[in-house]
Amino acid sequence: MKPRTVDKIATGIIMAVAGFIILLLAGFLSYIIIRGFGHISFDFLTSPPQTFREGGGIGPQLFNSLFLLVLTMIITIPLGLGAGIYMSEYAKPGRLTDFIRLTVEVLSSFPSIVVGLFGLLVFVNVFEFGFSLFSGALALTVFNLPLMVRITEQGLRSVPREQKEASLALGISKWKTITSVMLPMAVPVILTGTILASGRVFGEAAALLFTAGMSSPRLDFTNWNPLDPTSPLNPFRPAETLAVHIWKINSEGVAPDAREIAAGASAVLVMTVLSFNLIARWLGRMVYRKFTSSR
């Protein structure tokens, strides 16, 4: 066969595969969204689930997912920033730094089920936090932290060296340089990365089955005292997130409309994660433009 013919065939195959992937993805996404979209309503998004009657919603689960995300980020961001700053600014090349880098890499590739089991053993049983939002947030921190470290490192690396050196030359201390010159400049990269990481936290279920629990106790949305057990803000109550809820009603749902609820909840979950992605992209592009046009 002539090379030219082979080239045409190969190009055709690659085009076909790419087309197949696009069709597959489009089908996949629209399957989830179209199936569930009809079930989504304001009532569905706000009302509590029903165990055995029709018409249950996902209100508390949606709130739990968001609240857990906030809690996780409150713990992850300061730790991740700190460790990221150390890795990119303070760490001297050597065995120790290599070792820490390896740790970050291993930690980020641990299966989430193992992280969940570790959470069950340590946070739930040893520290006796019980099945709670707090245990869940700590477990999510474990596998979100390495991501955050990497994002921070990337962000700090993106800062031009001149900026950093100018600041140091002015006699400003290294720490001050990092926090008031470099970090603000790294914000776009860090922010985008953080939002993408949030999407991952939002959809995680395996690590939460054994840490945040699979039940959602009665919540009183008028009670905002974080110490009261029925308050939605109490971090020490068990909480079922949206992803866990889908897992549960798929497997144990007794409500007659369980399948529609699962479809609706899946659509909500996917759309939320998609919007996280889109916001991150949009934000990244906007900040990038602002930086490049003003400078």
């Binding site: 165990t51 300061p78 006796e128 110490l227 020490f236 144990e252």
Partner: protein
Amino acid sequence: MKKSLMFVMSIVLVFTLAACGGNNGGTAGGNNSTNGTNEGAGTNTNTGAGNEGTDAAADLSGSYLATGSSALQPLVDQAAQMFMEKNSGVTIQVQGGGSGTGLAQVSEGQANIGNSDVFAEEKLDADKAAELKDHQVAVVAMAAVVNPEVTVDNLTKQQLVDIFTGTITNWSEVGGADQKIVIVNRPASSGTRATFEKYALGTKAEDLQGMIQEDSSGTVKKLVGETPGAIGYLALSYLDDTVKTVKYEGVEATEENVANGTYPVWAYEHMYTKGEPDAALQAFLDYMVSDEVQNGVVVELGYIPVSKMQITRDIDGNVTNK
């Protein structure tokens, strides 16, 4: 930037401190009735007004945790919410996690109630099980179910044993069409499987090559309903037209047949406490067996009320008439 960092850190610190405070109360022991986080006892306004089966004069308060069987969870959860509406000083949290988790946690004092599908003696060591007090709150019956296209509608005990141990592999051997039998079983650790093996088969089932194992009733129902030639077993509450229920030794799985003892495949739903429960917990457990719950939520969820049972059965399977 530094300020916001410090701010975030201090929030973390506050949460951590709150964690320690909250937990000292919550996990102190088996009979803790008040918890550091529960300050609501004094503002209890409507005790006694609608307290059937409880001591109307008692000013009940406390914060409790019930964990365990995910099958029992909806029932306890619903009853707990109704109970809490009547006794605003009491907070009861209900969690799943499986019978094993529930029994272990109540035995170690991490939970006040352990919900279980099986007797504690079947999961825990004898000395640990002896410390626990059994409260039987409902009866759950199970039936063998098959794909709607399977023509067989009755199976004997021996036929079931043969199917679940792999001796019979084709429906034609038990009077059906010439079709391969697909078994949808539960994992070896499942309480539902333990009940089915004990009362329907009388022996252990085999984990056969090619069989499907699912822990959750919803998935079992879906798979049995969709897969040609499938057989599985479900609690009565899960039955509907997507699967076909078969008779056991010619007896139909109905509430009356369970209650009068002719249909043997059923188990108690247990709520275990470590030692004697305190007043508020006792009130809740009494409420669980009151007519309001037994004829209400219990029936609605597809369980059989304990009060309806004309017989009792102990852990060894000895049946006595009430």
